[in-house]
């Protein structure tokens, strides 16, 4: 395995739908993505150890029936919890976007303040009760030191969800998220779904697991920007940075080893 091109397992199948562009995002950043069907991974959880990044894309896994990401979370938790723990412990990275974020939250990997993988926060039906696709400004939390968000500040990404309203289960959880700087992204001015504390994305204690509702893989090219015809959009789309950060982090981690 080339350390220069970390292998990325991009989960696919069963209603996941943003897997192709998420794989492309990692490829553009210099990684080596592979789309792997959920059932293949569940059958052979050990395969995860051959990868350095696990990416859970957006979509409607299992139709979002019974709650967004719930079924996916349950399947991953029942077959892959140990492997995912070891994966993060070993310095590898996990990203969940949209539906993938919902699954990470519902399996307790995010934010995991307590350390015992009990679900602590949730992403529920938007306050207005409807799915919505629009571009919203977000800002990275400078106090969060996740390798995924290094150097990021203000960004504009699309949200495309019906169940993205962030709720902390308790005042203690909210307090813990703030105290430990676990919030990675805040909605900046427009809160599209009624999320508590304007939360758009969070990380685990290590910072190596990031979950977010806005879609950075929806902004890989300047033409994705809703106002690109009006000029002023940089030629390299801002969505790429998150993926480049991950690859750079793994490369430097490898050098240290």
């Amino acid at each position: 395995m080339s350390s220069a091109s970390p292998r990325v397992l991009v989960l696919a199948g069963c209603g996941i739908s943003a897997d192709r562009e998420l794989a492309e995002a990692f490829r553009l950043a210099g990684a080596a993505p592979e789309r792997v069907h959920l059932f293949d991974l569940l059958e052979d959880p050990g395969m995860l150890s051959a990868f350095r990044i696990l990416a859970l894309p957006g979509g409607f896994s299992f139709g979002d029936h019974l709650g967004a990401g719930k079924v996916l979370a349950r399947l991953l938790a029942s077959r892959l919890r140990k492997e995912m723990d070891a994966f993060v412990e070993g310095g590898s990275l996990i990203l969940g976007v949209g539906n993938g974020f919902q699954a990470l939250v519902k399996m307790g990997i995010l934010p995991n303040l307590s350390g015992d993988l009990a679900p602590e926060v949730s992403l529920i039906h938007n306050g207005h009760g409807l799915f919505e696709n629009r571009w919203v400004p977000i800002r990275a939390n400078p106090a969060n030191h996740s390798p995924w968000i290094r150097g990021l500040d203000r960004l504009l990404f699309p949200v495309r969800h019906g169940e993205g309203r962030f709720v902390a289960g308790s005042p203690e959880t909210a307090e813990g998220l703030l105290r430990e700087n676990r919030i990675a992204f805040f909605y900046d001015g427009v809160n599209p779904d009624g999320s508590e504390m304007d939360v758009a994305g969070i990380t685990d204690r290590s910072g190596r697991v990031l979950g977010m509702m806005p879609h950075p893989e929806g902004f890989l090219f300047p033409w994705n920007h809703p106002r690109w015809t009006r000029g002023g959009v940089p030629s390299v789309a801002a969505g790429r940075t998150i993926f480049e950060n991950a690859v750079a982090h793994l490369r430097s981690a490898n050098r240290c080893v």
């Binding site: 029936h65 039906h125 207005h128 009760g129 799915f131 696709n133 015809t229």
Partner: protein, 990 residues
């Protein structure tokens, strides 16, 4: 076990808040609070109990679970009304299917059919005051009785001990009926017609007679095979589906005697004469047409290495009865056309266009059994949203059109485009192979009684006896699994040919595929069923969703079925392809049907029809009566023009990361666009435009002009987006009222003449624009006869254009961008107001409509494209509904800039009526163009020889000012424009 899941607290119940708003929008502020609960009923599954239910179904952070106790009591203790909505027995319930799958996975067992898993939705309300009669009305708004039931419990009922049932009625095993043999010999003409009617065959007397003739000749052959002399019900149903108007397009294939004044003409097939020949003519100079007309969608070249395909369909009849189910099956159904094109394409984007009755229609004017246009809109929209979003295919373009004529049958157009590599496994990807000896495989969902007779049903008028079995619910997640599996199997070369199961079910899909190999043997007893009890003929013609049919080589079948199993997709061998010349149908060991392919596909007698054209006279009313500004604001607020942003944002229009021009543009992402631009490949900057043209209002004047203007509208939007004039292709979707003269349709000859003229307009415009028709569809019975009243749709042609934009960076949006930049109007403005939105707003007819000149327009479009390529243009908007004034207001609003326009020197007559025509006339082939600062001269040089007029500069202010020389005609602020334009959607989405 009854499991109810509620939000942890009311303030987190977004769905409840939405339901409260929805009810307030139609009934006023009667709801104080509302909560939504998910109900699961699980019974008879070994090892499943309350603990497992908690583990699987509960989000412990945000939800509460209630096992065998009331959830409403906890989340909304003071409720005074509960409504629980569940599906009727036999209706597809994707949620329950997922619940079942998860339970068995948690139990670590292979799923079996045993036990019961049902789901329902419970709505808890605190109403202001006693529910009384409002309970029924609220329940009515929350369910469609055709497919769902609603149970109501009021507080007082609850206190008297009323509870929801332990489980809902479900299908129990029935012993399936056998095969029936049908006697045609000795029946009178009337009896033959009656037989067709009773069995919902939609076959004419002539067709029934042809069928009887076939059986007379086949007598000896049938005796040898042990078949009855007359048809079996399996055979007769297969013939009816295959010969349905829906499948065989009998009217477009008919021989028509056309009369216009003293002129007489005979047309041998509208399709061959006006559509196929048009494309054949253009194909001589176009090398990019790969596969047209004969496959599930039309296929054209994209970039040499890839081909793209596109198809649009309507789902009108099912959508009238069940707008949600009709629309969701419409969108996932047309996705399957793409999956079934060539060796199997990947869907890349969807389109969706709805034609509905007037939103202001009084409730009491809605025929019994049908829904109010706003209810149809809300539910059909939700259907497309669910179908498209859950399939991961973005909705990138569409529309919404209101007209009183659509109150009986709404038109629900759904389209999908796809992409595939030009070569797959060493062969041209747009070709399929089906050879004798290949296995016939069905993959995807199971077969049930849903959707039986869809093809014949859609070939008849709606009435109160319309079969409810024709209605289906789609299951996008099953199809998404199927789609992913098929693309994987394609790339592993595991199958040879593929087509979708749509109208007519297996009888159509295998019957069509058999034409390639020369025959098929279908084994009905091998087909997987949702539940027992289906008659053999029902298995053959059921239109249960999410199914594809494939030809698989025997040596690949093991690998194919194994991959299907590993992807959670059901796939079954249901027969084999042959070269016997017969479709043979077996049930167990018994031969239950045998028809020659020749008779099945070519035995249909050609219809002979008469058409007579008489130009309708149209009063030329006085166009005065509204001040220009008042008219502009009224037009912007008209439902046919106003912003649909709140609806459109419910669609995921960006998944797959290919969006280049989105449904909205401008400084605040809220200005309109003329269509979509989509970039299908990450490794190429080449893009696709997708645009629509539809002008049914012009049909009152002349369908020839209607068709020309529909083509022009779609093509001009392609040009306005920056598309290449010589690399566009079109789809034609005709939706017509019944054009066959009969006692029920005394004006059939006129309606058929309208069809002939529309076809001529379509041909003439397509030839002028080098625009081949690569696929299409017609729906010819868009009438509703309910309560003794006949409502027929206006003759409607939807033209969908997909074209190439050489480089995405050249794409244009409508919003003004540079203060000081000159704005031009391209094209002539004769000012006729007939058929315009202004007519609609004013409320009277205003004489003749505008005429198009596609030849002159084609030259102008080419020059404009040259200017785009030269980098001279910064924005462009086509002038369509509402005319010039509306177009200018939209460009200003998008850019949040003003404009100072001068109409001096522009065509039309003098005086007030001339000005009204200039401002609001809807002459086709016009573009509003903002030229980059300093490029005016270069632009004018390129455009020389075509009509253009410099209107004036974009201003940094917030005023649209239109003058004619010294006289100011109109002055409107951006805030007024925005308020008017955004007024309508607020009522649409509570």
């Amino acid at each position: 076990m009854r499991i109810e899941i509620s939000c942890g607290k009311l303030s987190l119940d977004g769905r409840g808040a939405r339901i409260a708003r929805q009810i307030a929008s139609s009934m006023g502020p009667v709801v104080e609070s509302a909560a939504v609960l998910d109900v699961l009923i699980v019974d008879g599954i070994r090892g499943f109990g309350g603990d497992l239910a908690r583990e699987i179904f509960l989000d412990p952070v945000a939800e509460r679970i209630h096992v065998d106790e009331s959830g409403a009591a906890e989340v909304l203790p003071d409720w005074n009304l509960l409504v629980e909505v569940s599906y009727r027995a036999g209706v597809m319930n994707p949620e329950a299917a997922t619940a079942r799958e998860v339970i068995f996975r948690a139990l670590d067992r292979e799923p079996d059919a045993g036990g019961l898993v049902q789901s329902a939705r419970q709505y808890a309300f605190i109403l202001r005051g006693d529910p009384g009669e409002r309970a029924e009305k609220i329940a009515g708004a929350l369910h469609n009785p055709l497919i769902e039931r609603a149970q109501i419990i009021t507080r007082s009922g609850w206190e008297k001990g009323r509870r929801f049932p332990a489980f809902y009625p479900h299908r129990v095993a029935e012993s399936p009926p056998g095969v029936e043999s049908i006697v045609l010999e000795g029946l009178s003409d009337g009896e033959l017609e009656q037989l067709s009617r009773i069995r919902l065959l939609s076959l004419s007397l002539e067709e029934m007679t042809a069928i009887r003739g076939y059986y007379r000749e086949a007598g000896a052959e049938r005796r040898k095979k042990g078949l009855p002399q007359g048809p079996t019900d399996v055979e007769l149903e297969m013939l009816a589906q295959t010969w349905s108007e829906h499948c065989k397009h009998k009217i477009f294939a008919a021989r028509i005697d056309y009369a216009e004044g003293d002129r007489r003409e005979t047309i041998d097939s509208l399709f061959a004469t006006y559509i196929k020949r048009t494309t054949e003519t253009l194909a001589k100079k176009r090398g990019d047409l790969k596969s047209v007309f004969h496959d599930n969608s039309g296929v054209v070249d994209f970039d040499g290495d890839h081909v793209v395909c596109i198809k649009a369909e309507t789902h009108n009849s099912p959508s009238a009865l069940d707008p949600y189910g009709g629309a969701i099956t419409g969108i996932v159904g047309v996705n399957r056309d793409i999956l079934g094109t060539g060796i199997g394409a990947m869907p890349i984007f969807n389109t969706d266009l709805l034609c509905l009755g007037e939103p202001s229609t009084p409730e009491e004017e809605i025929p019994r059994g049908l829904f109010h246009p706003l209810r149809v809109l809300a539910e059909a929209h939700r259907g497309v949203v669910d179908g498209a979003n859950q399939s991961g295919v973005p909705v990138v373009a569409g529309g919404l059109l209101f007209d009183g004529s659509f109150v009986g049958k709404p038109l629900v157009f759904c389209g999908t485009a796809g992409i595939l590599p030009a070569r797959v496994n060493g062969r041209n990807s747009w070709e399929k192979r089906i050879e004798a000896g290949d296995l016939a495989v069905m993959a995807g969902g199971r077969i049930g009684k849903d959707g039986i007779h869809g093809a014949t049903f859609s070939s008849a008028a709606l009435d109160e006896t319309s079969p409810t079995s024709a209605v289906q619910i789609g299951d996008p997640i099953t199809q998404k699994k199927l789609a992913d599996f098929l693309l994987e199997a394609r790339d592993r070369d595991l199958y040879k040919g593929i087509t979708d199961n749509g109208a007519g079910g297996l009888s159509s899909s295998l019957g069509e595929m058999a034409q390639t190999s020369g025959g098929v043997r279908i084994r009905l007893d091998l087909c997987p069923l949702k539940y027992p009890g289906l008659a053999p003929w029902e298995i053959l013609v059921s239109e249960s969703q999410e199914r594809m049919s494939l030809s698989v080589a025997p040596e690949k079948i093991g690998e194919f079925l194994d991959l299907a199993r590993r992807r959670g997709v059901e796939a079954t061998v249901v027969g084999e392809f042959t070269d016997t010349g017969f479709v043979e149908i077996l049930h167990g060991d018994e031969l239950v049907g045998s028809l020659t392919l020749r008779f099945l596909h070519h035995g249909l007698p050609t219809m002979r029809l008469r058409a007579r054209w008489e130009a309708p006279s149209r009063p030329a009313g006085d166009p005065r009566g509204m001040e220009p500004k008042e008219a502009l604001l009224a037009l912007l607020a008209d439902p046919n023009i106003a912003s649909r942003e709140l609806l459109v944002r419910r669609f995921d229009h960006e998944v797959q990361a290919g969006s280049v021009v989105k449904p909205f543009s401008g400084a605040r992402d809220d200005g309109p666009t003329d269509g979509g631009v989509f970039r299908p490949r990450f490794d190429s900057d080449r893009g696709l435009t997708i645009t629509h043209g539809i002008c049914p209002r012009m049909s009152d004047i002349d369908t020839y002009d209607m068709a020309v203007m529909a083509v022009d509208e779609a093509y001009r939007a392609h040009i306005a987006l920056g598309g290449d004039p010589d690399l566009a292709s079109a789809l034609d979707n005709f939706c017509w009222p019944d054009p066959v003269q009969s006692p029920e349709t005394p004006d059939g000859e006129y309606k058929l003449a309208q069809l002939v003229r529309a076809c001529r307009g379509l041909r003439d415009a397509c030839l002028a624009y080098n625009l081949p028709l690569i696929s299409g569809k017609d729906s010819m019975k868009n009438d509703a006869r309910i309560g003794g009243k006949k409502v027929s749709v206006k003759p409607t042609l939807l033209v969908t254009v997909m074209g190439i934009i050489p480089h995405c960076g050249e794409a244009l949006t409508t919003d003004f961008k540079n203060p000081g930049a000159p704005v031009f109007l391209l094209g002539a403005s004769p000012g006729a107001l007939g058929g315009s939105c202004y007519e609609r707003v004013l409320g009277r007819t205003l004489g003749p409509g505008p005429k198009a000149d596609p030849g002159a327009a084609a030259a102008m479009y080419r020059k404009f494209h040259q200017a785009v390529q030269a980098g001279l243009v910064s924005s462009c908007h086509d002038v369509s509904d509402g005319g010039l004034a509306v177009a200018l207001a939209e460009c200003c609003l998008g850019g949040r800039f003003g404009l100072k326009a001068d109409l001096k020197g522009l065509g039309a007559g003098d005086g007030d009526s001339g000005i009204t025509g200039l401002l609001f006339g809807e002459a086709p082939s016009r573009l509003v163009v903002e030229v980059k600062p300093g490029k005016q001269e270069a632009f004018e040089k390129i455009m020389a020889g075509s009509p253009f007029h410099r209107l004036g500069p974009v201003t940094s202010g917030d005023l649209l000012v239109i003058r004619r020389g010294e006289a100011e005609i109109l002055r409107a602020g951006l805030d007024e424009i925005e308020r008017a334009w955004k007024s309508f959607a607020k009522e649409l989405v509570p």
